[in-house]
Point group: C2
Chain length 337, copies 2
DNA sequence: AACTCCGATGAAAACGTTTACATTCCACTG
DNA sequence: CAGTGGAATGTAAACGTTTTCATCGGAGTT
């Protein structure tokens, strides 16, 4: 840290301006001096002081990610996608995760103020009001998986609706006459979209079949309880759980009730968590390309940073794919939505 | 971003020095003015420009985390632990992950230069030479899960040895006369320690029993192949896989071979990945408190940042615990190592 | 009443860059 | 040969803080 641009300049018998220009690729410097300066800088192990640079350029070359308390696989995949894209763009990644409530999220958002050029925000606690209060006007932001419909912000969502729609269709196509749906928490945006996908697919492809929605809360336990109920009364031919964990719970309940999957009842989930592959029978589910979500989000915020003028905000949606495994009782394929 | 300390000073009819002092809690300012300044700063939504502050204080209030391409649950737990501790200490977290090789890791490490006050490093590519070349002398660093024994750096490891030792003992205590071990990749530090734990526990508690080590590579597939071999020849009473994924593979092989777990053969893994709980039978395994690892690491680097003088480096080890489930064929308990 | 001391405040330097503007030098034009 | 233009380089201001040192009052001491 001791070696500054001044040291390089002195060593190269040149002004600090020329060093700056040479190292930043300004055309107003002869190739010969650039070479000389570059080699001297390398020899001295000079590395520009980023704070000093930020002070004058008003850029930090950093984007912040605000995340809630997230599920394991989802979290790491998301960060991987973001990180990879950030590296490709020469940006750093400042992470603040595990926010339980809106107060914590607000504090984190404000703490990042001035340290980042843009923000990636994934949080159930975020709404327009929250953002207006805690996000500086000038900071570009991309909202992930948000119910927000405001044209004020960029929004990037997973196509929960399309995925659930396609899965419902798959179950119907496989010949299961009745399909029950295990819903997620009422206030959860993903859960709502998935339920809508189920309902509309039922209406479209099996208008005469009964629509049956049973309330769950995304936990394995709630799936188990629902599964027990379904095994006792109703006995649908197929069960579509709004996420994989609940499907796992259902499976446990069915096993206890002596129901065979998929012979007696077909089963499907949503998310394609790693467990889905390893339970018996392997779970048919909807795969979400989480890393892609992260990558896209970063690319959008990077674009917004590069040209601050372009304030055209848009909502975009990322496709899912149905992954057919043994639990739905049919051939083995993967089909995109 | 437009409002600076100067604006606050003007509004409060006071010098910038006083504003700085008031907001930083210097005692050399009267309570009354501090109040006034604070309220004005709040009203103007003044937030100090971190780059300007860093420039003069030479502190960034940020620690960097350098991570390899990591397994899902491990990654998110680690980050959670780090993030929570960082927040508690008022530090920011700069993440760079998914490094495939030493060259990428070196680039990332250098890119963080000057942007962080300290580093958390978890990477199989890191050795003393690498660090000397890419890590500035002055930057405190804590190495996670590293084979490095140099007293040059702080090292924080998981007690793989102790965990494996305890698990081996558990299997022997449960009455399984012969215990085979499925090893991990040869060059993997964790794998080596686990194997050592197995060997020494066998020597200590079952000196007459045969030590049987079969080579795996941490993948589910390798576990499956090993499992098939074991089912055919050898048929040990218990199998201890160096990680859970291989145990899952073994389980699949045993099921195919008609071996019942745990009646015909007991099975145990290491890591306590989420799947372990949900396969049938549930897998006995060793739980690693990953979030604690992250928390401890951050706390140590924070301590090193606070008092740069204290250059006493130490190696420390984090305990694991044996989680007994159905696959090892005995009661249900959890015992710390 | 003059002095000393101390606590509160202000002025200004310093941190390490980038960049607008100034300067120099040289080749070319008329 | 004077003049012009442009390319290469240099000078210095600016960014927004923190902090050292100086200044200013006022209270206490002699």
């Amino acid at each position: 840290m001791a070696v500054t641009i001044r040291d390089v300049a002195r060593e190269a018998r040149v002004s600090v301006a020329s060093v700056s220009r040479a190292l930043n690729g300004s055309p107003a410097v002869t190739d010969e001096t650039r070479q000389r300066i570059a080699s001297i800088a390398a020899r001295l192990r000079y590395v520009p002081h980023s704070a000093a640079r930020s002070l004058i350029t008003k850029r930090t070359q950093t984007v912040g990610a605000l995340l809630p308390d997230l599920y394991g696989e989802f979290f790491s995949e998301l960060i991987r996608g973001i990180d990879l894209a950030a590296r490709a763009k020469g940006l750093h990644l400042l992470v603040s995760s595990s926010h339980g409530d809106a107060v914590e999220a607000a504090a984190a958002l404000r703490a990042m103020q001035g340290r980042v050029d843009g923000m990636l925000i994934l949080s159930p606690h975020v709404d327009t009001e929250f953002l207006r209060a805690n996000l500086p006007e000038s900071t570009p932001a991309v909202l992930l998986n948000s119910a927000l419909k405001s044209s004020q912000f960029d929004v990037l969502n997973i196509d929960n609706y399309g995925g659930a729609h396609a899965m419902t269709r798959h179950l119907l196509d496989a010949g299961h006459a009745s399909v029950a749906f295990v819903s997620g928490p009422e206030d959860n945006f993903d859960a709502q979209q998935r339920e809508r996908g189920y309902r509309e697919a039922m209406a479209a492809f099996a208008p005469k079949a009964a629509v049956k929605v049973v309330a769950g809360d995304f936990s394995e336990e709630s799936g188990y309880l629902v599964g027990r109920t379904l095994a006792k009364n109703g006995k649908p031919r197929a069960v579509f759980a709004a996420n994989d964990m609940m499907a796992v719970g259902c499976l446990r309940a069915f096993a206890e009730a002596g129901l065979r999957v998929p012979q007696d009842v077909a089963l499907a989930g949503f998310d394609d968590i790693p467990i889905a592959r390893y339970i018996t029978p392997a779970l048919t589910t909807v795969r979400v390309r989480i890393a892609d979500l992260g990558r896209s989000a970063l690319e959008r915020v990077a674009a917004a940073i590069e040209k601050p003028g372009r304030a055209r905000h848009a909502a975009q949606t990322l496709a899912c794919e149905v992954v057919v495994r043994a639990s739905s009782g049919s051939g083995r394929t993967t089909k995109p939505v």
